[in-house]
Symmetry: C2
Subunit: 784 residues, 2 copies
């Protein structure tokens, strides 16, 4: 860690909200508490869960990407040994269960049905579940599912969103004859057209933001149990949002929320994917209720690839206007966002969010963005780490680089000329940036990377590799929405902290305990953090969108302050001193002007619940906060990448990767750095390796790790992390989110560096992923 | 139900706290929700719980009541097939686990050690656990436990508390050479001595309040699991007080409360017994932590009899002074309370509470009570339904009857002359009765029973049976302490209500839902009540001492009112109307003077948690209340019994049983009546059948249902329930507890009736239980 603002992490962190003592844990790189169990195998993941009489569910899925179902013959499956049940849509239709995953139709141009848990009369993507088999063993279930015979009448498929909009394209829904689910506009079209017409130069690019498939270490899974006595469903689930899943299961299953408990145990990575409601958990619940045995469903890696929600997949045309002096005049963007065959939750409207970050760090006076969400015969698309922000930032940062090349100026210099310097700043697409020091961030990143020296290098190294350097700035909207946080002191003085967020790598058990230790003034080790049980925690929103530290962190901080003040009031009563005279230091209350007696926090907790609380004291020592983040906090940063590109093999060597990120106050700098590094690795994955590829008939060609290439550790360079700290004024902790920064910054930074390297060959742009094959083709084409 | 105050149960109930509508559910005899699952076998009791790899724990118990342990040979047990572990105290001593059940030593004359989970060097009662065996099967565990060889050096035992106080008695603890654990005094000795000396008459009785053994349908049981990843213990347990058990397990096991989750599933009767911490659950937890497998312990019926906490067991001498005109002048009581060999929780100090109800319904100007808690070589004694109140009321009501006989006046008339008529009333033993109409209660009970006619009957019927009629008044202290209640509206408008109490027959799922439906103004069916999970519920106190409706009921009522007001505020915002203009009726908010729009409660709930709560609204729609009942509420009543006693067989036939009880407002009159009927049945059990009998060597002779006689349904007469309703001023609902009334009133009422029947034979008193043998002996002795 080289950031001087963090060199003494306790120096400026958290004083405002801290108990009387000056030392704070917020700002310290405390070791993650959660790691021991994860590293020793003691953690319990959903598929580790066992129950007596546990049955296993698996799906018979559609081979065809688009077809009418004529018949589903389950006879052979039903007669397989160990099979308890085989379900088709007919079974759901005959039940009280609605059986359709709910979608938000807000803002849509059509009214498509939701995703049925099992296909009704038609399938629309390869891998869509048609039948569900439940057996006493997972392999028997698989064998029986393979014995389900589907008779289907094929329809032509379409997988590309621009082709899907063409006149003759196959149609997925009668209601959307052009396959467009939703169209949204942001910004002022006329002002933007005028600005581009007036600009001294315009640059235009066609950009593809490649379709990605979330590859968490742990595939999705669920275990459902029905308690007939309590009329109550418990679903243990790989979830980023237990309450969110509870609400969606409530709709899919037709049960009141009060009758459902969702528990998220250890979750092996989410990336958005595990915030979405998929057929698997709903089918397991349906079967558990029907059969009165616990039912487990676990996706295989292949099923996760085939039928889990995918991410990204934008086809974009963008034009940037810039004057001779480098002033950016306007940006026009038109994008077709592939949303796959079905909506999940709010996914059909999701592409509409994307435009709001097209400004990146720049004062662009006119922006217009038209976004179309287009149905295709592909797996559903939903939010994936970054969720619109990487797509938008890629457009902005590629075009600024293109403009720099057009003008012949240093791309850093062009950025500097246009950076926003005053805050709050409202962008042309309606985002209000809360705070920042973009210029400092840019300069420090360039300094750290040795930008000038990198720019001065020869075009090629001694091995003939083309040398390049690129950068990308970014702004990330973080947080948002409501979150609950409970701080509950027990009679023995230990404290349970809970929040509606759910950690699946983010380290909340550590960071929330740091926050509460400071705010409540009790020992860090006395604080236990619990998430992931919808029964034990008030309504929550969940962990996604870089929101947990802002929303959950502030919620628990506010509750901790409330508990501290209640404890102070109780202590005053116990010490028989006025509250104003009570001091609180190192977990002990005293009133030195009134009494030599003291009361430890645990004494106060015991008294708070004691039989016969003294007069003048209310019992209880806990607080619940529903924190609402009204204003978005905008994280920002600059990533600099230097590369060497082998023109013969197309191999790209990332020589250095410098990431400067400013997420306001850092509760735990080590965890922040881990988030950045993980995000950068994933961003490098998008930039260089990953792409979901469909054949024209709608078959997924990248349905395993043999074909879908996630970066391995040796593909990821050492990431040099730098920081500035510009506290956010939007919340008391002064924090901003950081979970997605790396995935936003890395793709354009890497592509900019590679395009810089290849500039001597006259190559303007190479689309992601920059595989060896694709780079070599670009070189070959350029040389021809 | 014949009570005119309840004839229209909705007429006067709950108006104060109700949503704008006038109809209330409070006061209705709504069918119990919990019964369907109980009657169909769908309910899950602790012993129904299964987990993969579940192991079974059982104890090797001491045969001797008092002995020094020389050696414990576990070799044979360890080599039994399927045995996973055999533990003795040495294993606990070698661990980090304290392994001693905590006791409160407050107010004791000595400082005895707590009850070790497994015996250390000495055993002090028959059945004390010496070794614990864990095996893969419960029968193998039993066989192995039987193979544990204990070499012990016997000591003389003492089982009677008065004998234990004698000079030459064996001593249980060096620290208590006279075996007295605690001595407590209530009232003014001198004033009482003077009053008795001045009184025209005194009557004295030696009374035995027989030792009882709680006989819940379900014996005690526990299932413990240790999560090594989370470092967290979960104990599923037959508990009346999940948080209470959590705290006690925390001490016994040396774990922070934040690391323990206690879950009470369906519990088949408690009666105090399941509020106490026994070795079984601690041993199961110890084994689960040690072996890393789930461990179940279930007491057999015999073990419950032998080594579960027993109840009552007072030996009392009492003297009442009364003037010629019937005015009671004073009451002196000296009682020796057997507390068994070890304290559990606060049991050693418990007898000290007993004296506070010695006044019954009478204005007795001087009372003195000296209570001694005495160790004996018997099972620990702890609170059992009534917990001191039945013992005290038995003394008062037997002596008033004795005085009536001495004066030759109608025992009802003597009571009437002395009844307290003004409230609040402070008794000579420091109780402050909150409210009542004792005279009306007495009169209505007498009327209902036809007292005058019963008194006018001849001494004997045509079969030669002696006819008698008796009555007992009572006052019951109810409620007390802190209780939590949460009302949580979910986004779909359904509501989860939870409280720190735990229902095991009391019907909270029904009554709390009635209360919340009224207070919150939502549909009864939308309200789900959850108890029994220490993770899901703020710190609670539990269900015992007739406290749940007062404390938990008022806690959930207060939370419901808070949620209603929050919802009203939200609705005002949604309707864009001032809050004062918002009306709320039938679950719908409107502001007719401002808008034709309306918002259902569910709409408000959805908005409360929606993404981006409108400005001016705080998110969230739940409330937590810690209700503290500062003043005790005193339930009262009069029970009248008529009997026919066969002098040849000693058989007692209860011809009529009329119970008039006033517990303030009745949330659910049907459930109240059920509580009264159950309590009377148990009181008849004490009066007529039940007694734990120890041989002189400390062997329990009544260690099964063959010898310990609980009443069967044909032993319990039809109970005619009458009511008056005198709301309590101590709480907003106006309720008082009713859970223990029957066990308090029935024993003296029955004994008074039998003694009245036998009066022509010159019999003054027969001790409980009035078995045929004992009655016949009394008749025979009287005739000799």
């Amino acid at each position: 860690m080289t950031d001087d603002a963090q060199a003494d992490p306790t120096a400026d962190a958290g004083d405002a909200g801290t108990a009387d003592g000056p030392d704070t844990l917020v700002g310290e790189g405390v070791d993650r508490r959660e790691d021991a169990a994860l590293l020793t195998g003691d953690a319990t993941f959903t598929d580790d869960i066992d129950h007596p009489d546990l049955a296993y569910l698996t799906f018979a899925r559609s081979e065809a990407a688009h077809a009418d179902i004529e018949a589903v013959d389950t006879a052979a499956a039903e007669s397989t040994e160990g099979v308890l049940a085989v379900y088709t849509w007919d079974d759901i239709a005959a039940s009280d269960v609605p059986g359709v995953l709910p979608i938000s139709t807000h803002g849509l141009d059509c009214d498509p049905p939701g995703h049925p848990v099992l296909a009704r009369d038609r399938v629309r993507y390869q891998g869509q579940p048609i039948a569900a088999v439940v057996a006493d063993d997972r392999y028997r279930a698989r064998d029986a599912a393979d014995a389900v015979e589907v008779t289907a009448d094929s329809r032509p498929a379409v997988v590309d969103q621009r082709e899907a909009r063409a006149e003759a394209a196959p149609t997925l829904y009668e209601d959307a004859p052009d396959n467009v689910a939703a169209t949204s506009e942001l910004g002022d079209r006329e002002a933007t057209d005028d600005a581009l017409a007036d600009a001294d130069h315009t640059v235009e690019r066609d950009l593809t933001n490649n379709r990605l498939i979330p590859t968490a270490l742990e595939p999705r899974a669920a275990v459902a149990r029905w308690d007939a006595g309590d009329e109550r469903l418990t679903v243990e689930l790989t979830s980023q949002s237990p309450h969110g899943h509870r609400g969606k299961l409530s709709t899919t299953l037709g049960l009141p929320e009060s009758a459902i408990r969702v528990v998220a145990p250890s979750v092996g990575g989410g990336f958005g994917h595990k915030g979405h409601h998929h057929p698997g958990e709903a089918a397991a619940a349906f079967a558990a209720m029907d059969l009165a045995v616990p039912v487990k469903w676990t996706a295989t890696r292949g099923e996760n690839y085939l039928a889990g929600a995918h991410g990204r997949d934008h086809r974009t045309t963008a034009e940037l206007g810039v004057d001779d002096d480098g002033t950016i005049r306007g940006l026009a963007v038109e994008t077709d966002a592939n949303v796959g065959a079905y909506g999940l939750g709010g996914s059909l409207g999701m592409p509409g969010w994307y435009g709001s970050l097209l400004s990146s760090q720049y004062a662009i006076p006119a922006i217009h963005c038209e976004t179309r969400a287009v149905f295709t015969n592909t797996a559903p698309i939903h939010s994936y780490r970054g969720a619109g922000r990487p797509e938008a930032n890629y457009v902005a940062e590629r075009l600024v680089d293109a403009a720099a090349r057009e003008l012949g100026v240093d791309p850093a210099e062009l950025r500097r000329r246009n950076q926003i310097a005053e805050f709050p700043h409202e962008t042309a697409v309606g985002a209000t940036y809360d705070s920042g020091d973009y210029g400092r961030g840019l300069d420090e990143a360039l300094d750290a990377a040795g930008w000038a020296d990198l720019r001065d290098r020869p075009d090629r190294d001694d091995d003939g590799r083309y040398l390049g350097v690129g950068l990308a700035c970014y702004v990330e909207s973080t947080g948002g929405g409501m979150e609950s946080g409970v701080v509950r002191a027990h009679p023995d003085g230990t404290v349970t902290v809970s929040a509606g967020t759910h950690s699946h790598g983010q380290g909340h058990a550590t960071t929330y305990a740091q926050i509460v230790a400071d705010e409540l003034g009790v020992d860090y080790d006395a604080i236990d953090v619990r998430e992931g049980d919808s029964d034990a925690i008030p309504q929550g929103t969940g962990t996604f969108g870089s929101r947990s530290t802002i929303t959950g962190g502030n919620a628990v901080a506010e509750s901790a302050r409330a508990v501290r003040e209640t404890a102070r009031e109780l202590a005053a009563n116990l010490l028989d001193a006025p509250e104003s005279a009570v001091e609180y230091r190192d977990g002990t209350f005293s009133a030195p002007d009134h009494t030599a007696e003291t009361r430890a926090f645990a004494d106060v907790a015991e008294a708070a619940y004691g039989w016969g609380v003294p007069e003048g004291m209310d019992p209880g020592l806990e607080a619940t906060t529903f924190f609402e983040q009204d204003e978005t906090a905008y994280t920002f940063g600059t990533h600099v990448v230097s590369v060497a590109v082998d023109p013969e093999t197309g191999a790209v060597d990332i020589e250095r990767y410098v990431a400067l990120d400013d997420c306001g106050e850092r509760v735990n700098p080590t965890i922040v750095e881990g988030q950045i590094e993980g995000g950068v690795a994933q961003g490098i994955g998008q930039a260089r390796y990953e792409a979901a590829v469909y054949a024209d008939d709608g078959s997924l060609e990248t349905d395993s790790m043999l074909d879908y290439a996630v970066p391995r550790s040796f593909h990821v360079p050492d990431i040099e992390t730098e920081a500035t700290v510009t506290p956010s004024p939007t919340n008391d902790l002064g924090v901003k989110g950081i979970g997605e920064a790396g995935t936003i910054a890395a793709p354009p930074a890497v592509v900019n560096a590679v395009c810089d390297a290849l500039a001597p060959l006259g190559i303007d742009h190479v689309d992601m992923p920059l595989t060896g094959e694709r780079v070599r083709s670009a070189v070959r084409d350029a040389r021809e």
